[in-house]
Symmetry: C2
């Protein structure tokens, strides 16, 4: 598998970690995806002999890669993804896949006619704590899911300029919230019915239009409710950058992901039980396997699009201050 | 202080614990508040010589108590509270104070013209973990509050018949949720601007109209958001009946109440710090002091009414499926 990198923003480490595990794959070229993207910063992580381009189109045409990763400024994800699909490569793209519904439609269309694989970088699914919790839920340990409470809390630090503008950043719900919205969907296996959300830019420490807090309230099929709480207010002194949490309430038990651990209460145990964690996996390694015809990536293109839609709908709800409903048309892979 | 008890449902223990601490007060009479209420069940906790009535009006007229506690079936709270206030006694009443906006108005009016004290049983404020967290927040440890995530999770068990009907129970948001809605208000010191809520009766194990899950999304003044997650799905094997939690996100730190402990992250400490707990206090002892003219109860009548209004507005939102707004008229004690 020949791999080309477009951009080095966001979770480019998923790609480097995945390639390292697969002897059949190698990175052959790299180019920036967005203006002023500093691709030099990852040169030291790449093998010698990788070709460097200033124009990613030239790179695609010359190197004809099997797989292209897209991880640049967020407003360039959709356009570049379409270009890559039209040139016939599989795409591993940073989330959110698109910043507008129009762009999302363009990506869906290009994907449908390309016959290629696409996955968005929902790499947190592969973290041992989330995978362990998810498999426990799937095996019936908490019965039928009735409610989910998800949390993303980040340190703000000092963000790049493009985070400060809605048109390049897209908003905190699509950027930070998307992971939590993905958990809600992935764990529940249900479809989104409606969303009400709010977000605020107050106290964003000169980060322009960046929202520092956001709260989403989803209703899924079967009267399942989900809260998604997002903030950039994690103190700089906190032991980790992020404080990811998920609480899943079922008819037979409750499971929680907190501090990289998994806690379960159900009828089988008395008290709260900490579950042993499954080993860490790599999303890009999973995607590589799919590209080689050796299985199916846990994150499908349909899911990537559906989560993007949910994020954009939630952001719209927060912008407009009203409850919004989802179309009946469902994600194909439920 | 002569105290009469009307009803023995709900948190009647607050009253017994409070009286025990105050040598100037004694319970002089007891009567049921609602049909089929079994007052005998607390006889063994009362002193000898307390008079027992079948009709609480007769008791009030004969014993002329200084303070009356009202804790019966929830649909009787408002009506009896009005009667007590009109007879000139202070009232310590189980929350929610009323199950409808009309009843709430009647109570407010009776209270205003009575000149008597009233407090609803928001006794969880006095728990060491909540009091410790609240005082820490008030002292500026987390800066300005931007978001709150509150949780109430109860075991369902086998509830009395009156829980199964909306007209006697009132709903899970006013009954269980009211505590968490109170924390949101009490910690933030802000006013409610809007609420969106959902609730579901699915999987309520033959509990009629009782809602097993509920989720509320409040927006307070100053663009502060709050989630309130409520469920009756705590497994029967869990170590405690309830799993009360509160996470308060501020501009300088985050404080959490969980498992009867308080955790703080802010600029003063590296890592997560568990705070030493303040000693337990009793809400009814506080109310007794107020009645004796020795201070002000932490729970005011105005707050009791305001939280009731917020609960009823949230329930209405869940019933009607839309965002509802609060009147500008504010709680007097902010």
């Amino acid at each position: 598998m020949k791999i080309c990198l477009i951009g080095v923003t966001g979770h480019i480490k998923y790609v480097l970690n995945g390639v390292r595990k697969d002897k059949d794959s190698r990175i052959v070229g790299i180019a920036p995806g967005s203006p002023r993207e500093k691709i030099e910063k990852i040169y030291h992580l790449l093998d010698d002999g990788i070709r460097v381009y200033s124009d990613y189109r030239e790179m695609l045409d010359e190197l004809q890669p099997d797989i292209v990763t897209v991880a640049c400024h967020f407003n360039d994800h959709a356009r570049i993804t379409v270009e890559v699909l039209e040139r016939g490569s599989h795409v591993f793209v940073e989330k959110p896949v698109a910043l507008t519904f129009e762009e999302l439609e363009q990506v869906k269309k290009a994907h449908a006619s390309s016959g290629r694989y696409l996955a968005a970088m929902f790499g947190l699914r592969y973290k041992p704590w989330f995978m362990t919790a998810w498999k426990s839920v799937r095996s019936g340990m908490i019965g039928d899911i009735r409610m989910l409470n998800a949390q993303k809390s980040y340190k703000l630090g000092l963000r790049q300029e493009f985070f400060k503008h809605r048109n390049t950043y897209g908003g905190t719900i699509p950027w930070v919230g998307s992971h939590a919205i993905d958990w809600v969907y992935w764990f529940s296996g249900e479809k989104f019915r409606s969303v009400y959300a709010t977000h605020s830019r107050k106290y964003n420490k000169d980060h322009g239009e960046l929202e520092v807090t956001a709260l989403c309230h989803f209703t899924l099929t079967n009267e399942i409710f989900a809260s998604v709480s997002v903030d950039y207010l994690r103190p700089e002194q906190a032991p980790t950058h992020d404080d990811d949490r998920l609480r899943v309430v079922g008819t037979k038990g409750i499971i929680e992901v907190r501090e990289h651990k998994v806690f379960l209460i159900n009828g089988e145990c008395s008290g709260i039980k900490e579950l042993p964690l499954l080993p860490e996996e790599e999303i890009f390694f999973d995607f590589l396997k799919q590209a080689k015809g050796q299985g199916e990536c846990l994150v499908s293109a349909e899911e990537s699009f559906y989560i993007t839609e949910a994020c954009l709908r939630a952001r719209q709800s927060a912008d407009e201050g009203k409850v919004l409903f989802f179309q009946e048309e469902s994600c194909r892979k439920a």
